[in-house]
Each structure stands twice: as structure tokens, then as C-alpha cells.
Symmetry: C2
Subunit: 316 residues, 2 copies
């Protein structure tokens, strides 16, 4: 099974479909990061997006393309967090019931957010994917994959459209990678509209399913995927996402847990953005010296979300 | 000894003096806080100010009004943190040497920031005020009080000018109180320009020197002033700040440490702003039910700074 890449027109259609329902997030300049890393950075602040993450772009787009019958059956997804909150929010907006399967160890605030938006949350102790597939089939629910779906990828691509519109001078885009949905949409748009720009993805060493899939050429699964960047701990790569990453992404870099923690604190202290560790992945790679910046060139980093576990803040 | 209130013209002069050197910070809307507290809130995002705090407004204004002789002697201040970083930054901008006396328990990032901006940091184990006065006299340095100075208050007042310009429909302004510099400048401006608006201050129970000073009618000192909101743990009220607060502030509310921690986490999770606990004080008061909002009215909260101790983030 191989996936086809989506058409740029699908991203334009997604942008039109979600317009007015989501925020057009700002680009944030960060002089102190420029000094620290010797580059020129601009941050796409998706942590200010509805539900606190870019994820809602793709999920809402998908929900809005469902047929009346698919909606009537109710929707289900599996997620460590941000897709759960996004589906709960999008389903509520569409007036349909949502079920989300989350790992038992998910960040409590993400579980609460999904519940607060009205979803039924099912916490899975063991195999997340098996729990999700079982429930989906048993209840005949409409599956909304958290990333491996053309409409979800098209929605994520709207981040790329805004990047290009706001900073057509960008040279490099750094994108966190979980299952690859965000970078699939963004890289497609960047390579079509700004072909000379680089797109580099970053994933945790402990959840490096995309690197493994690129090496083997097929979408891999991981028995366990763990990271402090819970938003990046996808246990599988997608058919569709692998196809996009193979075609459009220049490089995928793996980062350590230590770098992710340090990067989160660094970016938070310098920018005053309460980003989640997934969103700091580009700076983890920079801390490790894994990315070479082109002198004077503009680097855009997608700050993918801000659903941080705040119960750790001010503990001592 | 009593202090006179400053003239509104001093605030306009400060605004002109610092223009172009500091950020005009944005107002941030926060729909989820509106839902949580049943009000209409707008946040003055001073955490995005240069040095990460409103404090630099007053300190820079003061430094820019010093005589050539006062500058040549070098400047000194005492601070739990934000005035230290602000003076270090402003002195560097003015090309003069700075010394800052900080408590030994200051947030490490605040100490590092002062050093990074080029100041000599002296950590005081015991009486902060005594250490500061001793060093000031011994070295014949020019004193820059962190809050109890007409020019520092005038600089803080520029926050009020921007509030009025951006949201002339505001009904209530909630302002964190340490030694009272911020609320002195802001309340003066609000009461002169929008006389029907309320100004309410919030200070920690463990550092309630302004409440005590209002009760006694003279500027009090505290043997110890401790709070998780380190930015509010001033051990003394000022002569000038007390005069402004007596004349212009409607009410001062005291909040618990527990509420400050809860409010910091709540506001961070809802707004994705990495605010420091001092800045969350208005929401601590709201959590305690200590402030009654007028139905439908707009409440502005000054998010005074973002120099959070990020080493606590992602610990578990």
C-alpha cells in the first residue's frame, strides 16, 4: 500500500473550508533566539490556535468533509493529546458525538480538554492502536485518523500557506514530526510555492518512527514510542505521510530527550511563549548542532502547540 | 516624610523619552478566561516587553533623566529580579556601569539575566535594603530605586497610557502590587483619563506591605517578605507609591500562595503566555472570589512579566 501526495488545490480548499472558524496565527519574531543561535528566526505561533495546537486545522477540515451518514455515526480518533482535543472541539462545532482513545499516561490537561469539549475519552493501558481499532469496529464509528488522511494533511498544509503569505523570504522551515501530518502538509506547500526553500523535520530518538520508515521505505510501527514531547510520540508512520515526506522533505533529524527539555525551557524563557515540548523540537536540533543555518537566511519554526503539562510549573 | 503624586505630564514625558527603545506591547484577548471567570478580559502583555517585564519602562526613564555626573558615577538598585535586569539593560543602553543587589534566593534566571546584560550582581544573604544602602554609600553610586521614584513611576505610567489608548472602553484594571510602582503610575493615568474606571491592586498575603501601609498611613517595612510571586515580595512600601495608592487606587486585595500557583498555571494553560507568578496575581484574586466584576464590563489585567523560573517546567 502506497499513498499518493495530495494536490495543492486540496490545501486551498481546506483553507477556504476552515476560514472564519480558526485563528490566523501570528508570526512572532525572537531577537534573543537570533542572538543565541546566530540565525534569523521567525516563529509560527500555532500554540495560539484554537484548542492550543495546529492539529485542529486538519481535524476540522476532515470533519467538515464527512458525509451526513459518516457524521451521524459519530467520530473516533486515537491520540496522545492534541488530536483528541481537536476532534472533540471540531465534533462539538459540527454537532456530532466524538470518542477519543488516549494512552493512560497522557498529559492530564489534554485528557481534561477533550472531556471539556464534550468527547468520550477512553484511556488505553496497552496497545493504543488495537484499542482504537477495536472500539471503532465494535461501535461502527467514523474513523478520523490523527494524521494519516489526505484531508487532515490538507488542513495541516494551511500552516504552510500562511507561512508563505507572511514570510515569502523564508529560506528554511523547521517542523516537529510525530506521525508526520504537519510536515506533510507544510512541505507540500513550501516545495510547490517556494521550491528553493528547505524543509527539515525533527523527531525524538525515542519515537523515531519516521526516520525508520524512511530507512526501510515502508511505514513502520514502534512497539513503544515515548518522549517528553508527548505530542511527537506517535507509534506509527502513515502511508500518506511517508509518501509526502519522501517526496518533499529535505532531511529528518533525531533529537535527545535532554535536548527537548532544554530547548523547551530555553525557548520559553526567551520568547515568553508557553510552548509544549513537541513545539521546541526545532530548537533541540539547533542545540545539538544538527542543523546548519545558511548565513543571513530566514528560518521559520512551527511552534506546533502549547498544551504543556502546567502542573510541573512552579513545583520545586 | 510624605510623597507628592506626579503630574500626568511626567508620564507623557516618559512616554516620549522611551519611545523607540521599548516595545509597545499588545493587548491579548482570552476567550477561555472569559468563560472561566464569567467576565470580559483583555491582557496587557508586558511579558513581551524588553527584558521580559514592564519594569524596564520606569528604570529606563529614570536612567535617561540622570545628569552626566550621576551617570558617570554608575548606578545601583536592589531587586528580587526584574528591576535588576531592567537596570542592567538600561545602563548598558546608556553606556554606564550598573550594580544590582539581589537576594541570595533570587530566581537564577533573573540573576543570570542581570549578569548577561553586563551588571555586577551582589547577592545579599540577610537584609537586602541594608546591603544595598551600604554598597551605594561605600562606592558613591547613583541610586535607582526599583519603584519609589517619581521618574520610575512615570515610566510605569506609560502602561496606563497604552491601556487607555487601546481599550478606552475598559471598566476595571487589575494590577499586581510589589512595592507599588506599577499601580502608582497606572492608577494615576487611569483616574485622570478614565475617571469612572476602577483600579484594584493585588498583593500576596506573605508580602502585604502595601496593605499594611494603607492601614497605618505610613510606608511600612517587613522583616521578611516571601512569596512564590518573587516579583511581588518587596520588603517595603515607598513614600511616593503610598501617596499614589492612597489617592488613586480603589482597593487592594491580598491573595494566598496557593491561589498564586493555581492562577499561574490556569492563565498559562488557557492563554499560552509564559507569565511569571506575579503577573497572575489578578487571577489569583478572581479565583478567591475577592473581586466582583461588573456584568458585561471590560476588565484589563496587566501581565506584568514573564521571567518565570523555567527550571521547574517539565520536572516531574
Amino acid at each position: 500500500m502506497t499513498g499518493d501526495v495530495i494536490a495543492l488545490e486540496s490545501v486551498y480548499a481546506a483553507a477556504e473550508r476552515v476560514a472564519g472558524r480558526l485563528h490566523r496565527t501570528p508570526m512572532v519574531e525572537a531577537e534573543t533566539l537570533n542572538e543565541r543561535f546566530g540565525g534569523r528566526f521567525t516563529l509560527k505561533a500555532e500554540l495560539f490556535q484554537k484548542t492550543g495546537s495546529y492539529k485542529v486545522r486538519g481535524i476540522l477540515n476532515k470533519v467538515l468533509t464527512l458525509t451526513a451518514d459518516e457524521r451521524a455515526r459519530g467520530v473516533i480518533t486515537l491520540s496522545a493529546g492534541n488530536a483528541a482535543g481537536s476532534l472533540a472541539w471540531a465534533a462539538r462545532a459540527a454537532g456530532i458525538p466524538a470518542t477519543v482513545v488516549m494512552p493512560a499516561g497522557a498529559v492530564p490537561a489534554k485528557v481534561e480538554a477533550a472531556r471539556a469539549y464534550g468527547a468520550e475519552v477512553v484511556l488505553a493501558e496497552g496497545d493504543l492502536l488495537a484499542a482504537y481499532e477495536g472500539l471503532r469496529d465494535e461501535r461502527d464509528l467514523t474513523a478520523v485518523h490523527p494524521f494519516d488522511d489526505p484531508e487532515v494533511i490538507a488542513g495541516a498544509g494551511t500552516v504552510g500557506l500562511e507561512l508563505v503569505a507572511d514570510r515569502p523570504d523564508l529560506d528554511t522551515v523547521l517542523v516537529p514530526i510525530g506521525g508526520g501530518g504537519l510536515i506533510s502538509g507544510v512541505s507540500l506547500v513550501i516545495k510547490r510555492l517556494l521550491p528553493s526553500a528547505r524543509v527539515i523535520g525533527i523527531e525524538p530518538i525515542g519515537a523515531d518512527v519516521v526516520s525508520r520508515s524512511l530507512a526501510s521505505g515502508i511505514p513502520e510501527k514502534l512497539p513503544t514510542a515515548r518522549s517528553v514531547a508527548d505530542g511527537l510520540a506517535a507509534p506509527m508512520c502513515g502511508v500518506h505521510t511517508l509518501a509526502h515526506i519522501q517526496q518533499y522533505v529535505d532531511e529528518v533529524v533525531r533529537v535527545s530527550e535532554e535536548s527537548l527539555v532544554e530547548a523547551t525551557r530555553l525557548v520559553m524563557s526567551r520568547t515568553k511563549l508557553a510552548l509544549e515540548p513537541a513545539a521546541a523540537a526545532p530548537f533541540a536540533a539547533l542545540l545539538e548542532g544538527a542543523i546548519t543555518l545558511r548565513p543571513g537566511a530566514l528560518t521559520a519554526c512551527v511552534i506546533s502547540g502549547g498544551n504543556l503539562d502546567v502542573t510541573t510549573v512552579l513545583t520545586s
